[in-house]
């Protein structure tokens, strides 16, 4: 059972990667090209030579981008399906599609939306190479805190269910998540390495494209995996039922 769900998760992840690639080609790549144009301009004005290209822009924006989002999608789809195998049947009596949709929303908020509010995606030419270690550590710390807060919020809501009822228990859980994440955002140091002359419009467009890609990715995962898991789980149910009926009386 786990095997067949894992395979489906990775397949949906590859599909999500392909759709995300198409979205990124149309909405993301133009912003990257503009940002690299800005970078070249800055180098030119400072009288420095342009950075040598180890991998051509042509390859970066096609095969490189495709490889990146496909591997990302496949890995994310695999992890998603494994979380689903645990969550299904354990979060209330949600259907497979409902479970997958709920997990995708919670995952998107915890892994992407909230960490990106604190440490948003940056186009090329933003970011000091000397602080990459610190920025990477902060980004992953924020992601891990957000994930832990999400699990804690679920458990809190679950624990209060019998006392507060469904609606208020869900609100209490959400409050736990918001509180923990808000404290983390205040405590963790800010990162702002955007050059003063960098176009605000370009920065906005880049970040919107980046979030858009993640919405395509997680929506495909949640809805696609939900649809595929119905068939897989129905087969499991049939197997269980036929073993039951064939049992000698």
């Amino acid at each position: 059972m786990v095997r067949s769900l894992l395979i489906r998760g990775m397949l949906v992840g590859v599909l999500a990667g392909l759709l995300t690639f198409a979205f990124a080609r149309v909405f993301g790549e133009p912003q990257i090209d503009l940002a690299i144009g800005f970078e070249d301009h800055v180098h030119h004005m400072a009288g420095e030579a342009a950075e040598p290209e180890l991998v051509s822009r042509q390859v970066q924006s096609t095969f490189g981008l495709l490889t990146g989002v496909l591997v990302y999608g496949c890995a994310l789809g695999g992890i998603f399906s494994l979380v689903f195998t645990y969550a299904y049947g354990r979060i209330g009596k949600l259907s497979p599609r409902g479970t997958a949709a709920l997990l995708a929303i919670a995952g998107f908020v915890a892994v992407i939306l909230v960490p990106q509010i604190k440490y948003p995606a940056n186009p090329p030419s933003i970011g000091n190479p000397e602080t990459i270690g610190e920025r990477t550590a902060l980004y992953f710390a924020m992601t891990v805190i957000s994930l832990i807060a999400m699990v804690a919020a679920y458990n809190a809501g679950r624990g209060l269910l019998s006392r507060l009822g469904g609606w208020n228990a869900a609100l209490a859980g959400a409050a736990v998540y918001v509180l923990v994440v808000a404290v983390a955002m205040v405590v963790l140091p800010p990162v702002n390495e955007v050059p003063a002359e960098f176009s605000a419009v370009l920065l906005w467009n880049f970040r919107i494209a980046s979030i858009g890609m993640q919405i395509v990715m997680w929506a495909t995962l949640g809805l696609g995996f939900g649809a595929l898991s119905v068939a897989a789980l129905a087969k499991q149910r049939q197997g269980a039922a036929s073993r039951q009926s064939h049992r000698p009386v």
Binding site: M1, V2, L6, A24, G28, I32, L54, V55, V59, Q60, S61, F63, G64, L65, T67, G68, V69, V71, Y72, C74, A75, L76, G78, I79, L82, T85, Y86, Y88, G89, R90, K93, L94, S95, P96, T99, I112, P115, Y119, P120, A121, N122, P123, P124, I126, G127, N128, P129, I132, G133, T136, Y139, A209, S210, M213, Q214, L233, Q236, G239, A240, A241
Partner: protein, 69 residues
């Protein structure tokens, strides 16, 4: 394979943890390793020297929101 008792059609059958665990550990580790290579290799830390992996997945890394450069 499944839980021992038969449940009526409306009840979801949960999958036992002992069945999930080996898959979760092995596939989970591989998936995290893959995400590391797309998101962080030759950035803050490097398993391989040089910058080829970083440059090859450069656009994806920026657009997927990982810290870069």
């Amino acid at each position: 394979m499944t839980t021992a008792t038969y449940a009526p059609a409306s009840e979801p059958i949960s999958i036992p943890v002992r069945e999930i665990l080996p898959w979760a550990i092995f596939a989970g580790l591989l998936a995290l390793l893959a995400l590391y290579f797309i998101g962080a290799e030759q950035g803050a830390t490097a398993i391989f020297s040089g910058t080829y992996i970083h440059e090859f997945v450069h656009d994806g890394r920026h657009l997927l929101g990982f810290p870069c450069h």
